[in-house]
Symmetry: D3
Subunit: 281 residues, 6 copies
Amino acid sequence: MRKPHRLLVEPIVRGALLEDIGRGGDLTSESIFPAGRRASGAIVARKPGTLAGIDAALLAFELLDPRVGVIEAREDGAHFEAGATLARVDCDTRALLAGERTALNLLGHLCGVATLARAYVDAVADPKARIVCTRKTTPGLRLLEKYAVRCGGGENHRFALDDAVLIKDNHIALAGSIHNAVAAVRAEIGHMVKVEVEVDTLDQLRALLAEPVDAVLLDNMSPEMLREAVDIVGGRLVTEASGGVDLARVAEIAKSGVDLISVGRITHSAPSLDIGLDIAP
Amino acid sequence: MRKPHRLLVEPIVRGALLEDIGRGGDLTSESIFPAGRRASGAIVARKPGTLAGIDAALLAFELLDPRVGVIEAREDGAHFEAGATLARVDCDTRALLAGERTALNLLGHLCGVATLARAYVDAVADPKARIVCTRKTTPGLRLLEKYAVRCGGGENHRFALDDAVLIKDNHIALAGSIHNAVAAVRAEIGHMVKVEVEVDTLDQLRALLAEPVDAVLLDNMSPEMLREAVDIVGGRLVTEASGGVDLARVAEIAKSGVDLISVGRITHSAPSLDIGLDIAP
Amino acid sequence: MRKPHRLLVEPIVRGALLEDIGRGGDLTSESIFPAGRRASGAIVARKPGTLAGIDAALLAFELLDPRVGVIEAREDGAHFEAGATLARVDCDTRALLAGERTALNLLGHLCGVATLARAYVDAVADPKARIVCTRKTTPGLRLLEKYAVRCGGGENHRFALDDAVLIKDNHIALAGSIHNAVAAVRAEIGHMVKVEVEVDTLDQLRALLAEPVDAVLLDNMSPEMLREAVDIVGGRLVTEASGGVDLARVAEIAKSGVDLISVGRITHSAPSLDIGLDIAP
Amino acid sequence: MRKPHRLLVEPIVRGALLEDIGRGGDLTSESIFPAGRRASGAIVARKPGTLAGIDAALLAFELLDPRVGVIEAREDGAHFEAGATLARVDCDTRALLAGERTALNLLGHLCGVATLARAYVDAVADPKARIVCTRKTTPGLRLLEKYAVRCGGGENHRFALDDAVLIKDNHIALAGSIHNAVAAVRAEIGHMVKVEVEVDTLDQLRALLAEPVDAVLLDNMSPEMLREAVDIVGGRLVTEASGGVDLARVAEIAKSGVDLISVGRITHSAPSLDIGLDIAP
Amino acid sequence: MRKPHRLLVEPIVRGALLEDIGRGGDLTSESIFPAGRRASGAIVARKPGTLAGIDAALLAFELLDPRVGVIEAREDGAHFEAGATLARVDCDTRALLAGERTALNLLGHLCGVATLARAYVDAVADPKARIVCTRKTTPGLRLLEKYAVRCGGGENHRFALDDAVLIKDNHIALAGSIHNAVAAVRAEIGHMVKVEVEVDTLDQLRALLAEPVDAVLLDNMSPEMLREAVDIVGGRLVTEASGGVDLARVAEIAKSGVDLISVGRITHSAPSLDIGLDIAP
Amino acid sequence: MRKPHRLLVEPIVRGALLEDIGRGGDLTSESIFPAGRRASGAIVARKPGTLAGIDAALLAFELLDPRVGVIEAREDGAHFEAGATLARVDCDTRALLAGERTALNLLGHLCGVATLARAYVDAVADPKARIVCTRKTTPGLRLLEKYAVRCGGGENHRFALDDAVLIKDNHIALAGSIHNAVAAVRAEIGHMVKVEVEVDTLDQLRALLAEPVDAVLLDNMSPEMLREAVDIVGGRLVTEASGGVDLARVAEIAKSGVDLISVGRITHSAPSLDIGLDIAP
């Protein structure tokens, strides 16, 4: 599985550590424990879920103690039960306690995303539809959240505004028509850029089929309407359903035959998963 | 109300914009709209809630178009209904569309935090307890999330590891006793630093009363046990209840008479509030 | 035409200025001229060419003197003759002289790229092929160089490793076969990512036609072989010729009927265009 | 030979890597190859030339894989033939392929500079003149380009505006006279700063000899005029010829007896040298 | 003793190195010594004092030569005599000479602070008062200076504006009264923030006793007035004397019975301690 | 007079502000004063001195309140008496109070440097010697401190290791001889770099006269020995006296006839000048 490169993850973890350590350092642990004292820490799940971000979490300890020893660590993407040990480290005591909250904040958030993604993916196993995330991510964490979605079995939509084209309702309204918008885009972009267009009605969809695009986003349509849309497309475009997709409704949407279902709440509203750090001297 | 300074907020918003604009820019809008074309945008709530982060959201547009005009904007802390216009801007069309997702991601997240904080605060209005947030925040967004908690009527616990001391179970276990931990801290910190200690039992609490500390965190206690703890303390320390506090249970906890109730989920698990951008030519 | 956003260009220009101003400042001009003295500067082409980067060049003066006045400036993409005035500014004298070299280094480089791109584009006007750049860019200047290519009438290939897939000879050799490589990629990437595969032989090309890819890069093939390749593809893939494409040979390559011709030297070996700054008191 | 310190080079290489890896990582290689798979890579010259920047190129791999093993590497400054292996590494496969373009873009550019510098230096071996570079460098790469010039046997003029004084035609025109400009500079700078003045005529040169300066830049003079200028100076100042110096003309300029010949095109217009990466499993 | 974390110190040392190495590197040492040559360096005190910042100083060498060997190093906080060796390293010769000034500038400054702090602390040993520093620190070095104060036996006042409240004369004047200012603060801050108020008169002090604050800063009072103030407070608040405290006067101030004496000159005016680097081949 | 460019000063002031404002902001002033309230502030000298850094100080307020109005401001380099108003601003109250300490810390430090430099300069007015600073500066503040020295009438030695060569005792010892060191340097540096050599004895000085260098640093010599050294040099080199130069001794040193006297304590040990901020509603 593709993993975000450490070169990209390290600035995020470093920034999170500095946010928590502040300028003065960890007043509590540095006052109580001498430099050099070591301890053993176990990252333990309090609830079941899907693992995502274990490397980022361990990096929090490593940035504070380059000699941290990782005794064991599960693989991202794995399912775990409540009580499971996700990783164990041997670490400088001050570093372990100073890094604890950063590690757990990252891990709880990313496992939350992966676990919710996994729930959506499992709900549309048969008939199969692919669950994709959106750009509705937490500022600063898009790289890691999109990775967590993959850990949960989901797939990524475009990363950002610069790697693919998505013509939405606002673009169409301001441009005057789908045709105008597509033509303008085609004149400007290179041959390695895909184009998707959002439609709200079946008439729009029919008009779209004459345009040189790769995919269609079917926004806020009922399952019945989606089914009709899939028929109209007839395999000529990748079809994506979108709009207020909750877990209870997603299987019904998948039955419409769309290729993809995009779900914003996987990234913007997944509750953090409860994970703790157990420390032994 | 205290507001995070623009000097501190701008790097966050700039980072979020760069995350979304990427290196190539907004392929879609820059292809369709000429430079200089202006449009009007209204930030509209799709659900009711409490406002937080409107300045940060508007800053996303301003960083892309320094000449953006803010026609109207509500004040952070205000309650709004579904359909309410939270702000209106006159903006370069490319900037408006390129900044849309960053502005809404920030605003949806922060209003989500403020709205959940407000729900907790309202639930403990009488008898009154103060709702405080924790360090269980989203990496990179602590400053803004702690502000959003205040917008929702909540209060902030310490910002980070360097502005106050909180001696927790792990510290006590490794130090051998509460007394050892407090003594070590007292020998190292200055006179402007407050000290709070977490206790799990009433025996620990009684022992704590002999120590020079400012507050006690009563962790994972039942409402009955909390009441007894409050009696034991007898006003000599600030009392804070903590641990798995959900909205259904919070009023009962407040009845125990504790001064503060800290709630991690306000910051780590608040769902994003649904807010959109309506654009007119 | 799409233009790189100022938010992205400013750090490049600022970095270039700091590289030239150093820590001590412009010893010469600051010693000779008093603060506040103003002068008029004309950016003048010493050779004919195609304009690219005028905003970046002017930004060098603006970052040193926010009150700089731009009297006139030509549009990027325009052809100019030797002697043409590309822009004129009214500026603080110290800022004008301190920014001169940075502005001209940027502008000379980018006009060099645009002018060479334009030469290639003009050479393949009929029969028409599209000239595209590569990732063989100058470290730190990819954004601006890819823009300069567009100013010269060329188009951009993928921006970087993260916005599209290009399976090259090394990938195929290490993966064992084109099929293995494509299958591995398809299992990992989202629906908005295009896939191109490099082939060296017509047998590879025939095998490729069975794979779900979007484009083929025909590497280092003779014009005759390219013609045959275009026949074999029969419009089922976008075809791109690549490899040691010099200006003398490009028209012949275009006659093969390929859709695109990629040229590394446009970005990595374009000589700087001679542009100067004429100053009047 | 003086080498740029790693502390200064690393940010440049890191920036170049991030420009190419983007935010999403190397979609192609990370999809095809598992983490941990190793491969052997040979950096091979396709054309003869002079080596410069091998450390910077290898650093690209090291930043992606800190455990990269460098099997062999030639020394900067060495001449190499087409087909020569410049370095060989044992590296994580993903890191090797993700770092390839960054390493080659840097190396090709810097060897291009060194090779062109060497050609100029060889052309003026007897009678000997020293070839120096200018501030006409590629934005962001001055440190490395000036080093590449030294690898090619050339020398560096001042690094930037803050380490020496060069009074040019614009300064003289605005100051009213050479005397005014020199006097103003002398009143402001310290005893460790050298002063050079550009002259266009022999009259200016004669006037300059009365001023307390270290060197004279003889701008755009014919070989005959340069010879006369050298006679006039009579060893009292360092003499530097400048202005449109091409390779065909440089030996004739050297015969004039000037100490230095400065050549902008070495840094701003050297074509990239063709260098490739051969990978074996 | 609490020590600033390397994660926080490294950017300061790196910045100081870059300030001194510049963009061109150490022209002198890199010209004279070949890469790889090693030497032994001893950091030697020329004057007696108290050690602070030895890790930061050694880091200067380590950032230039990651393989530097630290043969010996004294502990921060130790007293040393003139001639004492504070640390000895085995280091690349270029790194040793390039890092020398940065290491010594940091160490001389911080030992200067620690030594002056120690002098104040020793002066108030009996009757005991605690010496605290202020926010009158050198821009960019507050973290290290506050640490140096602790090395000298002093204590830290608040770190900055965000970790505690200090209501000063300007606040009171603009707010109208102490009561107004305290009430406004109390309504905004959390339970982990301490509040101190500056008073200039005993009347102000008496009024302050009715307010919910933690400490009082007795500004610019005579020893007699301080004694009266301590009597008035009667142990209800922490008392701090402040204002023009010189070494000759500090013992007399301590006799007043105040808990703390804050001294700005420890950080803003401590002369650098004379420390040198002795190098052996 | 040369002034550090705002592009270079702003990062220093911004860093200093962030160090003091922290992540949580100014708890005190933001709690007490509403946003938008304005106040008038006067920067007033409590002691006489020489002004340096007024722009940097005012920038602290401007970065917090871009609409700050500067009513009046004296020029750097001016002498002022105790009680003098150095600048007056109209500013947002929160910004004025949050920026106060940063502005005063910078200004007090820089005026301290300028004032001490002025004292040395005045002490050697007749016979005239030039006072120069060294690289013994406060980490992070070299640019501003060297400017402050100029404000006090002093001059700058080289800025850093990369703009000139200074061969010191350690270099000579490790290189074997002055001749070896100078020859190695001459082979590596360009024609715009000056070379100075430190000598401890008159024999060394005589040997040095045969070498191609620009200046000699006469280290730790008595006034008599300096006089003899000046005679030996006979105007062939710039002469600089150095080593433990205190204010009482400097005039005597100047009488020896040396050109320059370098004084480390001007930058590393100048006490901060007492300057305050008076605020009116």
